[in-house]
Symmetry: C2
Subunit: 202 residues, 2 copies
């Protein structure tokens, strides 16, 4: 395969995902068929199947793209200058906001998340691992500068992410909206307090 | 109504709930009818309806009883002697263990939880408020003795409970079992770190 045809193949793959995402948003995942996607792209269903061997594979591609957007935004923030605490707050706020927009405001995309969590759990796990790694990188920075006090960065990152479940997890965001509980900033303050150096014991 | 007949009424109410819980566990909430419950108690369905005006009301009574068991256990631990940190660890471990046993190990009871969360959300909210209050009481004790450093006890209690969502929330316990993440003790350590006095800033 030449470089040009490789480029065309990647392009077609990408176009299938863009159209699939649009249809999933418009008419929902369940109701969208591979035939609908092919029709929008003026190609045959057989051609779509050359790139994705099932509707589930298309769904995973779309889910990966949506989750990848959140991961990229988190990494950009992690790479900025500034205190680790400020970056962690911005990063966590961004993840919450993007997950709200993507999966909660949009009921059709929420359906997609539910399906991803049931059928493509490994895609969700990989996403959470990437987000946890990025949070871990900021925690490590803070630990190195003395801003944070952390015994084990990997453990601290897992705990920080888990503590934010109400604000990160699409199902929990939807379930807890307008329910009693801490605000996002109060929760981030609590997580930062867990990472902040403690008074020496007498 | 005399005191004796009041006692009998309470007793009948209690017996209906005990039988209902057993049937919900054995054959599931959806499949159990008010007729089944009445038959087990050798009374007429009309008599059951004298005490509970719907199957939903029976369900709420059973759910309240199950959740009340967890609340009572938490209060007993909160009332013990010992350091606030040790009590908080025991209390959180107990809530996790009881919720695992009640709602995750038993798929029929898990069905009940799902229904409670959809149809009787106020019962769930009242339960979470009671658990949060008990955790708040222990945090207040720790703050008073100088073991903890907390600006706002109510906020700290909400954050501590929210941070434990993976280990308290029946749906999250079920979803996260055997998935990457912190252990229960690591998560409790993280919560305690957020409450522990911090080094004075220079």
């Amino acid at each position: 395969m030449t470089l040009i045809s490789e480029h065309v193949e990647t392009d077609t793959r990408e176009r299938i995902l863009v159209v699939a995402e649009r249809l999933f948003r418009q008419i929902g995942y369940q109701k969208t068929t591979v035939g609908d996607i092919a029709k929008e792209l003026r190609m045959s269903p057989a051609n779509v199947y050359r790139f994705f061997d099932s509707k589930k594979a298309i769904h995973e591609g779309v889910a990966r793209g949506l989750m990848g957007g959140v991961e990229d935004a988190a990494q950009v923030i992690a790479g900025k200058r500034g205190s680790a605490a400020a970056k962690l707050r911005e990063l966590m706020t961004t993840i919450h906001r993007m997950n709200c927009e993507r999966y909660v405001g949009d009921s059709k995309l929420h359906e997609m998340v539910e399906i991803a969590m049931q059928e493509s759990w490994e895609v969700c796990v990989a996403h959470m691992e990437r987000v946890t790694e990025t949070i871990g990188a900021v925690i490590a920075e803070g630990a190195a500068s003395g801003e944070f006090e952390v015994d084990d960065v990997v453990e601290a990152a897992m705990c920080a992410c888990t503590a934010m479940m109400r604000f990160f997890h699409p199902q929990m965001i939807a379930q807890c909206a307008n329910k009693p509980g801490p605000s996002l900033d109060q929760m981030i303050d609590f997580v930062l307090a867990a990472l902040t150096p403690h008074a020496k014991k007498n």
